[in-house]
Symmetry: D2
Subunit: 261 residues, 4 copies
């Protein structure tokens, strides 16, 4: 089965910062999509903040198995209505990879229900990513650790819910640690947060980082049919009860009512 | 230490439905607060939708250790700004008990990041609440199960994140099951969802239900100082790094910048 | 990739009880293996308590991706040395499906670290299995619930660790509930416990049960290379430290020592 | 309520190694018990490997609310029968703190069901313990991090089950990370593993380490009555079913049988 991945890039610093543009002349989203495409089972496309509907129309999202999200300077410019739409698709089963500074994206904060805050330092220091859950699909093909010679420090406490799995934890040269690879499920959708990815360093050119992203796309793709209507609270009328019961006591609702929301 | 509990009631059906009023002449919130007050370590007060700021002013919330939330018909009438405020307080460490139909409250959906949907039937059928985690503080003093002779059926799938702990699971006469007592942590705040509580039955008059609520208030009260500023992402400047490092590579930020949000 | 599944059957009641034999003339293990084989991606074989080394030689286990375990009357007859061997293989990445009365098997108790006790009643009552995690791979192709007209009641509390995921919860006619489909990871191995399976009813002839087992085999198969040596605690000598450090302070060990066990 | 803590020390290196004895002239267990006793709510006593029944008689364990376990060189000398006894008490509700090299103790491996392996280096390097779950009771009174100037490196992967909560994660000077404070529940018992504690450094003299141990004892103490019989699987006879049912189908057992084990 081909996995349809969509790489969403904020695409701001690539336009406004010459250093970032020199690292990612076609945008970070484009390079990431190319990296995913090295796995023949992944069909990757891109979308950006500047596209109509941020490139996330109903039609596009319907055809997306896994969405990758990179944002940093313009989280507030993402339309709430489109965040609603993305959240609904995650609930229905679309996978989501949240990259680096997207820890503060609207969609991630929405799905976590927590501040998603952390500490940070942009010093170009060394980050060593340790594999905690060695046989996890997201760690496939990796050594016990890998290094990024220059990285932005992201440090604990990372204000997210306890994860389903801790896949990676990072060591930083300046003395901090960070749970840099975490998984959760929300509705039917699987979510992976990955820490590395600062735009002034060539992180997404890194072989190991690219491997992690490909692995995570495969992991997050849910083969189940979309769970349409997951947000509904259907009434099961008495007449259709699985065991014979009769109405007793007082009631607010007429049989078959839709209920309050 | 006295725990300051605040029982928030939507207080709509008590006004508009004679049956509900006859069960709860002073409102469900008042009866629940009285039930909590039977534990001398709990000091319980109330607030309702109709109060100014829904009774949830900054000052009131600052002095609240555990908030209980019951809503059903008017979730949409709760101000988003006040939901923001409550969510912030949960992150800082305030406990939250989410009762029955408040599964669809704005605050619960915000903290879970999921639809929080379920199936339901108002037939006055029997609910038997089984204790799954017998020695959990929330189950203190309970038998292995207890029954509610008339209850609204809430059934699976309950679209919430995997809980930290499953404390209760309910059996329904009509054939369904429901995870009726679940815990989570979000930020520093502990959250407990409890299923029973339909307003046309005398659920909150039940001895076991009252015991559960008192237990859960004690469990959710966090002795730690409030985590003010949990939503901030502080920069750790290079000059204050715990290990000696020097600026390397390119950078977006000046040292000490606030960062993007 | 073909998944090599091995169905281990205690194979006692099939020999000693005419009722069980009439349901499973070739043994429960054989029928289960046949059910797995309906998925062309699964290659299923069998082993029994009575085989030399219980059919679980080092060679056989090395070639097993997922082991299914059914036992009831003869848990105590399983050799501790072979339980050690199976546990080691689970740690290395072999999947394990624990079926029904195998909740009290040595291997399950070893991997859980808990009593794995429950309550039970053999009344031939109805069991309705509810899908809790609808889009989970183990629930693929199932309706929101399925029924077993005659089943042995297994009831809560089920003394196992909080699971990674609750996939199924069962409703019983006699009034109990049971978390009948649970997942865990131990070492690199994925474990699934499935409740239904009493030998005096034709449970493993059931279409839905067979579907669950096939799904679970696929889910439990770990594509990662076996994690050989997972039980070792390797010394990382100072000379190979990733950051330059020097010996300081007192020491118990000579550099390169094996450490205590 | 006074919490009765029992500090179990292997007490080998204090006898055989002059360096260790100079740090802990009365044994590590004694110093730890003294540190616990600074909290007036904790009543701490000690037991050692060399005592009759390792100091863990039935009577002593019955009166223990929280057991602390430190072992290193002599894990194999601990009697299996006594490990059985301790495990049973944890299931019944006794708290357990597992200290440093006790990651390889029989009791911890039993309760985890995993190898509990890790990597290590005895170089006297700096360990910085980061608080991950800042408002957790075990972190009460701590700064965002604390340092141990000399520590034994324990590194990932740490082969334990996903924890209920990650409270601490350590940064090591030599480049590794380690989840140094983890919680689980097994049966009714709460378990906390704490990484620091190598015997050739004065770790248990450290103010922060002592604070962690006192906090953890309070956290692990379970106010619920002991869950006696948790290992039993009681039959619920048809005559006592909560809902009216009749025997149907075939059966292995006579009503009221004890069941297989």
């Amino acid at each position: 089965m081909t996995i349809r991945a969509l790489v969403w890039g904020e695409n701001v610093h690539e336009q406004t910062n010459a250093d970032v543009r020199s690292l990612y002349p076609d945008g970070m989203h484009t390079l990431i999509a190319q990296a995913l495409g090295k796995d023949s089972a992944i069909e990757a496309s891109t979308a950006t903040l500047q596209d109509p509907e941020h490139g996330l129309s109903v039609e596009v999202l319907e055809k997306t198995d896994v969405l990758l999200w990179w944002g940093h300077a313009a989280h507030g410019d993402v339309s709430d209505a489109i965040v609603d739409r993305v959240q609904q698709r995650v609930w229905e089963g679309m996978g989501l990879l949240v990259l680096h500074s997207a820890h503060f994206s609207k969609i991630f904060k929405r799905l976590m229900g927590t501040p998603c805050s952390l500490t940070w330092r942009e010093a170009g220091e060394k980050e060593r990513v340790w594999v905690i859950n060695r046989s996890h699909p997201i760690a496939a093909g990796l050594d016990p650790w890998f290094e990024l010679p220059q990285s932005e420090m992201y440090g604990e406490p990372f204000a997210v819910p306890e994860p389903m799995e801790t896949v990676f934890t990072s060591w930083f040269q300046g003395g901090e640690v960070f749970r840099s690879g975490l998984t959760w499920q929300r509705g039917a959708g699987r979510i992976f947060y990955f820490g590395p990815g600062h735009e002034t360093y060539p992180i997404y050119h890194d072989r190991n980082v690219q491997q992690v992203l490909r692995n995570a796309v495969s992991w997050a793709a849910n083969a189940a049919p979309d769970w349409k209507g997951i947000e509904q609270a259907p009434n099961r009328p008495i007449s259709e009860a699985l065991e014979p019961i009769e109405q007793r006591g007082l009631s607010l609702h007429q049989n078959g009512d839709e209920g309050f929301k």
